[in-house]
């Protein structure tokens, strides 16, 4: 055990010493200019991008409209076992393996990529956004921003444990570049935008 530790230490020291002597001494110079694209209507852009990557979005007035709307969005889909944003976490993430629908609040949406930022604080359980069959994320209309640069401005030094951009349903194109939704994670992803 101890010898393993020492072995690890010595690898660390050797690597670091080599890097220190080999890394170039290049002056950083001025940070290069970068003018990100801006969208005249970020909300429309967000919806359009999300649709292009297999997700769906719907504007609503209030969170309590979601259950009704879900029936129209997921017709014929089994949605009996669902988890809501204010539910208590179960002790074991495996207990979520048969979840049909997870409804969670996202922090904000990114127009250019159709992505929604969500952290462990909003996930109920960290496995939930990935293990459910259908994922519903709820954001406020005022929480839609332009680019990922804006996103990291907003995230700042937040102390989340796990944070994820989720952009549409789980997908794969590994079989002859044919796009298939629902690889391992959610088969559908719907974003409710509260006006």
């Amino acid at each position: 055990m101890v010898s393993q530790e020492q072995k690890g230490m010595s690898a660390r020291e050797k690597i670091l010493a080599r890097i220190k002597s080999n890394q170039p001494n290049v002056a950083a110079g001025e940070e290069l200019a970068l003018t990100p694209i801006s969208f005249s209507d970020p909300i429309e852009k967000f919806k359009e991008t999300l649709a292009s990557i297999g997700g769906a979005s719907l504007e609503i007035e209030h969170e309590n409209q979601i259950p009704d709307k879900l029936l129209s969005i997921l017709p014929g889909k089994k949605i009996s076992r669902h988890v809501g944003p204010d539910d208590h976490a179960k002790a074991d993430p495996h207990a979520y393996s048969d979840t049909d629908v997870a409804i969670l609040r996202g922090e904000f949406g990114v127009a250019e990529s159709g992505a929604i930022w969500i952290t462990d604080k909003q996930m109920v359980d960290r496995a939930l956004p990935f293990i459910c069959s259908h994922l519903v994320l709820v954001i406020r209309k005022s929480q839609i921003i332009g680019t990922l640069h804006d996103a990291y401005e907003k995230i700042g030094h937040a102390g989340y444990e796990l944070g994820t951009f989720i952009a549409g349903p789980s997908k794969t194109a590994d079989i002859e570049q044919s796009l298939v939704l629902g690889a391992h994670g959610a088969k559908t992803m719907t974003c409710f935008i509260i006006r």
């Binding site: 990291y152 944070g163 952009a167």
Partner: protein, 459 residues
């Protein structure tokens, strides 16, 4: 004679080229991905600025890697993560194996990690009695087939759906003759869901490691990294030491470039930032050197360490598209693999820098502006200088350089060659001359331009 392995790129590419229709299909499929990349890139007017910025950030990382690694380590440890260091693939594999053994399991799930491919972790663990389940669909397909991936982003791009159907029929019991991607994907989903639910250890790669926060970012479309990690007791993340970025805000630049360059998507479906393990879970990060720290010293080849493994250079490369990933006989194929591999072993991979037309398309699509084709050219010089090129190439170059360095010899040998080609064409036009393969030689002129000039302009 040092590089006369029968499995060099040209030989393997030749094998791939036996089925012309398949080569055309492979070529077209990859070009389609390249076009999707172009379309995505053109939607951003600031695309070139983004590339320049990304390249600049990576240059900064390489210049201060020592400081950034220490910062990353400190922050990761503060986050409750166990950080390990490995100089070699063997050390890396042993560290991972020990963590697995400490938890008393003999089966693990793994999402895509080019580093573990580089280290041949799967083979190592299998040899030690650990079953490794690759969970990326493409990787699972090639794993079931007993092959390595042929592309870093699209691991089974060389497989036709009918073949995958037959493979799944054999291994997963899908209906015989069914090659429907939806059905096959669903079968893999069910097969792998069971593995996710029963694995106590999950291995992932790392796309970016943030020095400022000690967090790592893993990008997938399938969600396999997330499912694996969130259902496991132990998360082991394996990364090369060059994956560092200084701060969170730099991720904005890289995440905008990565998926657009790779597949033309605006972003991968899941871009997960793992900062702290979940309650009751262990998180390990293994930092691997494997020659990277040596390469930092080289002005010519250092920039290859900027690579973010998007695969854009593969998709655009006329040689890759027509020779297939396995012809590169290394974990990372394509143009970037051809400048990474020789640094690890010039003898074994000395053929790869020659598997290029030096057209420069790779450098033009690279999101971090690596001078790939220049490095290919520089590797060629080094390989010949150090005697690692094939004897035919070395001899040929000697003959050429002998002729081209003296006007007299050039004239004399030119004359002889013209005579030879007229009188004894079979000496040049034969299957032993690689330049004659698939080429018709031009008709030989009776005289050189110089001779013609002397005759016609003198008097």
């Amino acid at each position: 004679m040092k590089n006369m392995s029968r499995n060099d790129h040209a030989t393997l590419a030749n094998k791939f080229n036996h089925d012309e229709a398949r080569v055309n299909w492979h070529d077209k499929t990859l070009w389609f991905v390249r076009q999707k990349r172009d379309k995505a890139a053109k939607q951003l007017p600031e695309w070139e600025q983004l590339r320049a910025r990304a390249s600049q950030i990576k240059a900064k990382v390489l210049s201060h890697l020592h400081e950034y690694l220490l910062e990353f380590e400190k922050n990761a440890v503060d986050n409750g993560v166990n950080v390990h260091w490995a100089e070699t693939p063997e050390e890396h594999n042993a560290i991972v194996h020990k963590i697995i053994c400490d938890h008393g399991v003999d089966k693990i799930v793994k999402s895509k990690s080019m580093l573990t491919e580089e280290c041949h972790l799967n083979e190592y663990l299998e040899r030690h009695g650990i079953t490794v389940i690759d969970t990326d669909l493409g990787e699972r397909i090639v794993q079931l087939a007993g092959e390595p991936p042929s592309h870093i982003v699209l691991p089974c791009i060389h497989w036709k759906k009918e073949e995958i159907g037959a493979l799944f029929h054999q291994h997963l019991g899908t209906p015989e003759g069914n090659a429907d991607p939806v059905l096959l994907t669903e079968a893999a989903r069910q097969h792998l869901r069971e593995k996710f639910l029963t694995s106590k250890v999950a291995i992932t790669g790392v796309n970016f490691a943030v020095a400022e926060t000690g967090e790592i970012v893993v990008c997938t479309n399938e969600g396999n990294a997330d499912l694996g990690v969130q259902l496991a007791d132990v998360h082991i993340a394996c990364m090369g030491i060059e994956k560092i970025v200084p701060s969170r805000k730099d991720l904005g630049t890289f995440l905008r470039l990565l998926a657009r360059s790779a597949t033309g998507q605006p972003i991968t479906t899941y871009s997960s930032h793992f900062r702290k393990p979940r309650a009751g879970q262990q998180m390990h990060i293994v930092l691997v050197d494997n020659g990277r720290s040596e390469r930092l010293a080289s002005d010519d080849f250092r920039n290859a360490l900027k690579c973010i493994r998007c695969g854009a250079c593969f998709n655009t490369c006329p040689v890759y598209r027509r020779s297939g990933g396995h012809s590169y006989h290394t974990a990372i194929a394509g143009p970037i693999g051809s400048i990474l591999a020789p640094a690890l072993d010039m003898k074994q991979y000395g053929d790869l820098p020659f598997a290029s037309t030096l057209c420069g398309s790779c450098s033009n699509v690279c999101p971090v502006k690596i001078d790939i084709h220049d490095q290919l050219y520089k590797w060629r010089q080094l390989i010949v200088e150090q005697g690692y090129s094939s004897w035919q190439k070395t001899k040929g170059m000697q003959v050429l350089s002998n002729a081209l360095t003296s006007p007299e010899r050039y004239e004399r040998q030119g004359k002889f060659l013209r005579w030879l080609l007229r009188k004894l064409p079979f000496l040049v036009k034969n299957k032993f001359n690689p330049w004659y393969k698939q080429r018709e030689l031009p008709q030989v002129p009776d005289e050189s331009f110089k001779e013609w000039y002397r005759k016609n302009r003198k008097g």
